[in-house]
Amino acid sequence: MPPEEEKSALEKLEAKLKELWQGNGQASIISARHTEFVIEPKVFIGDKLHPEILKLLVTGYLANAAVQDSGCGGNIEVTPDKMTIKTPKGKSAVIVRDKQIIEQYLAQQS
């Protein structure tokens, strides 16, 4: 493993996302008598993000989203079935169809 200063930004980002994953209790740990096996997520699969890490980031993002983020001119478009998080340029970036997350977000905004 290369030393910290030789790591690329992508490698550092992956390490930080793994920390976030573990810190949020998402890590799979198999405990044996003398050894614990921690299953680390594969953060990026090709250029795609691991779905569980994406979920973690989305819930964190929505928890910190302000009322003005949704609605006209905001970067969150929400209906009861679908939520779209847009880039600052207005392009759809993340699509959420998880009802629980949408309901939680709507309740938080009201």
């Binding site: 690329s8 930004a9 992508l10 550092k12 980002l13 930080k16 996302l17 976030l20 799979s28 008598r33 003398h34 050894t35 614990e36 096996f37 921690v38 299953i39 680390e40 997520p41 594969k42 953060v43 990026f44 699969i45 250029d47 795609k48 993000l49 691991h50 779905p51 994406l54 979920k55 980031l57 989305v58 964190g60 993002y61 910190n64 079935d81 779209t84 998080i85 880039t87 392009k91 759809s92 970036a93 993340v94 699509i95 959420v96 169809r97 998880d98 009802k99 997350i101």
Partner: protein
């Protein structure tokens, strides 16, 4: 004549690694006080065994009981003191375990087509946070690599 402590070493020497069977395990003679053969002993049972030995109730003739290596080692005082250290091993999740989410599927969270995972991280993380900064730096890196720029390896 009651046994003395000086008799102990020869009895304790019977606790030694097996030459056959499970690697890392040790054998001790079965206790007279009701421990069945071939059942791993826990530290309490090992301690009780030592007490039995001290009282001269060695029952070597009754067979052997296996102590897994996890039961720890016995120090010269006959106390099972060595608590094994837990080793942590990290495994990389197999890619086959990760299914890409379908944006049209109910219950899914997905990145829109044409948007990379890095862009999604940069968007979802506060630009002032470490994750946001790293995501932006990684995007720059990827762009430089794809353009064969000065940072290209």
């Amino acid at each position: 004549m009651p046994p003395t402590i000086t008799q102990q070493p020869s009895l304790i020497q019977s606790i030694r690694p097996q030459t056959t069977g499970r690697p890392g395990s040790a054998q001790i003679p079965e206790l007279a006080s009701g421990v069945s053969p071939n059942i791993p002993l826990n530290s309490g049972q090992v301690r009780r065994y030592i007490e039995e030995v001290k009282r001269g109730r060695d029952s070597t003739q009754n067979g052997f009981t296996t102590i897994p290596a996890t039961a720890g080692r016995l120090n010269p005082n006959g106390v099972n003191s060595a608590t094994p250290e837990i080793q942590r091993t990290t495994l990389q999740e197999p890619v086959t375990r990760v299914a890409a989410a379908d944006p049209s599927q109910v219950g899914s969270i997905s990145v829109a087509p044409g948007v990379s995972g890095l862009v999604a991280v940069a968007l979802l993380c506060d630009s002032n946070s470490e994750l946001g900064t790293l995501a932006r730096a990684a995007i720059q890196e990827q762009r430089a690599l794809s353009q064969g720029g000065p940072n290209a390896a």
